[in-house]
Amino acid sequence: MSGISQDDVAHLAHLARIDIPSDQLGHYAKQLDAILHAVEQISEVAADDVPAMSHPVPMTNVFREDIPGVSLAPGQAVAGAPAVEDDRFRVPRILDEE
């Protein structure tokens, strides 16, 4: 398996929407590289016929009757938001200028 470079970290940070300062990219790259080297041994152990397991207990869809329950009032739902206008979440600009 390949290592992880500063450029990889910058790309992943962009995907994860985290502004990592450029002078910290090398630090993260070094640590992540060490972690990946430590975990890559798992690629050797499981044969192709071993099924993947996403969850520890058997999962089935859970249904319920379509009956309205108690919900939060709009004021309660937005009470923890950093910016609110007219009981709605106020969002920064969502379109780029061009």
Partner: protein, 501 residues
């Protein structure tokens, strides 16, 4: 009157029920203790004096009317800050949730309130439960009451420290890779991770949804069982909740009879990498088990050496997805919203400012493991290893009733010692992680002090899914022997904080 903070939860519940002492007196005694020692320990992020005393007053009234709410009515506790509690700050140890007040209660919190259990406050934790030392809390580390220069374990270091410092008789933790059991081990207390699905996750802020499980922490096996019985049970609000009766944990904790039982020692969890004093105490515990008429058998779980690797791919993958919700829009912090920046710029600035380095590390790692081109090699492969680990447990439980191992490879280490070495930190969870991957119940039980540093050692007990009562039966049997030998619980040997250092 004897010091109320030194009594067990069961003793306090009994005295409160008989009206020998009021819940208000008990709650006040613990609030006073917090006031006195938490400056040194820092187990609490928020103390709710008013709310705790109001619950205590209500519990006293219910008892006076002959209608106690539960077996623990009036006995207060500490609540890990990972559980949403209506009207109380809930930060998950992160700056990104600083000041957030949940508009609803987690199901577990609703159950505590219905049981008449006053909530003293919210306990410290590694940010979003990522860590084994509580040093990754954005609000500063918690100190181990056995030695204030050492870590109290993590992520639930606040929950383990508050009970070992006698600030609360019991507490709630959450365990994704060992965050209840490892803190219990290094503070000489008892902690149980119930079967996955045994306690509702509704309102438990998600780290890794397929691994997370809240559970009880206390100073004795019986207290832990009593709290377990209060918080467990089916919840329609959690689609992974198991719709079966709660295992008879309290009865098992009162029984403590292991004659004729088969106890399996996991060959792969011990030996090299384990501190000498940890191994020595574990060997003694095995002898105690045999003296009680149980058979100790070595079993092999050949896939366990790969559990840590699988965990540190699965957990960051799930975390990177779960933590996408902290976007600076609906709750918590928002940075750089000056009217000129786009939502993506604000989001990226907010997440950089609000998340600490360990959280950033794991989000990046998870994003990598889930990326196109790497998914099969990392996340897909880790999920297959998870199957192998589950199979190892299944074949082991065909031979034995429970499995045992040391809970953690070492005793509590010094604050700062492993902070810059993530891999060394991850190794703390080497014995606890397989249990989460398979969704099984596990307990950490205090089994003595390591000779070289006089710090607590824990033994892990593991049972099959929904057989949580076996943990308590085995734990109670060993605890009884050790209490007889020591003339008290291990926690009674803790140095006194006040007037200490």
């Amino acid at each position: 009157m004897s010091d109320l903070t030194r009594l067990t939860a069961a003793q306090l519940a009994d005295k409160i029920a008989k009206r020998e002492v009021s819940s208000v007196e008990v709650t006040k005694a613990h609030l006073d203790r917090i006031e006195k020692v938490d400056g040194q320990v820092h187990a609490f992020l928020h103390v709710d004096t008013e709310g705790a005393l109001a619950s205590a007053t209500a519990a006293d009234k219910a008892i006076a009317e002959g209608k106690p709410q539960s077996v623990l009515a009036g006995v207060p506790l500490g609540l890990k800050d990972v559980l949403a509690s209506k009207g109380l700050p809930t930060t998950c140890g992160s700056k990104i949730l600083e000041g957030w007040i949940p508009p609803y209660d987690a199901t577990l919190v609703t159950k505590l309130k219905e049981a008449g259990i006053p909530i003293l406050g919210k306990t410290n934790m590694d940010e979003f439960a990522m860590g084994s030392s509580t040093e990754h809390s954005a609000y500063g580390p918690t100190h181990n009451p056995w030695d204030l220069e050492r870590i109290p374990g993590g992520s639930g270091g606040g929950s383990s420290a508050c009970i070992s410092a006698f600030e609360a008789p019991m507490s709630i933790g959450s365990d994704t890779g060992g965050s209840i059991r490892q803190p219990a081990a290094v503070t000489g207390t008892v902690g149980v991770k119930p079967t996955y699905g045994g306690v509702s996750r509704y309102g438990l802020i998600a780290l890794a949804s397929s691994l997370d499980q809240a559970g009880p922490c206390a100073r004795t096996v019986l207290d832990t069982a009593l709290l377990h019985s209060v918080i467990a049970g089916y919840d329609p609000k959690d689609s992974t909740s198991i719709n079966q009766p709660v295992p008879a944990v309290v009865e098992a904790a009162k029984l403590g009879d292991i004659k004729g039982k088969k106890i399996g020692v996991i060959k792969e969890l011990g030996g090299e990498g384990y501190q000498a004093g940890v191994t020595a105490r574990f060997e003694e515990a095995k002898q105690i088990i045999e003296s009680l008429g149980a058979e100790v058998i070595e079993v092999s779980c050949p896939s366990f050496p790969y559990a840590l690797g699988a965990y540190y791919l699965i957990q960051p993958s799930e975390a990177s997805s779960n933590l996408a919700k902290y976007d600076g829009i609906r709750f918590g912090l928002r940075v750089g919203d000056d009217g000129t920046k786009s939502v993506e710029q604000v989001m990226s600035a907010t997440r950089a400012a609000g998340f600490g380095s360990e959280v950033i590390r794991r989000i990046i790692l998870g994003t990598y493991a889930l990326s196109a081109g790497y998914y099969d090699a990392f996340y897909g492969q880790a999920q297959k290893v998870r199957t192998l680990i589950k199979r190892d447990f299944q074949s082991a439980f065909e031979k034995v009733d429970v499995l045992i191992s040391p809970t953690a490879p070492t005793t509590a280490f010094k604050i700062g010692e492993k902070l810059d070495d993530p891999l060394a930190m991850y190794l703390n969870d080497i014995a606890t992680i397989p249990v989460n991957l398979a969704g099984l119940p596990g307990m950490s039980l205090p089994i003595g002090l390591a000779a070289e540093d006089n710090l607590p050692v824990g033994m892990q007990i593991i049972a099959p899914a929904m057989a949580d009562e076996r943990l308590y039966n085995v734990g109670a049997a060993i605890e009884r022997e050790l209490v007889n030998k020591w003339g008290g619980h291990l926690i009674d040997q803790i140095p006194d904080l006040v007037g200490g250092k």
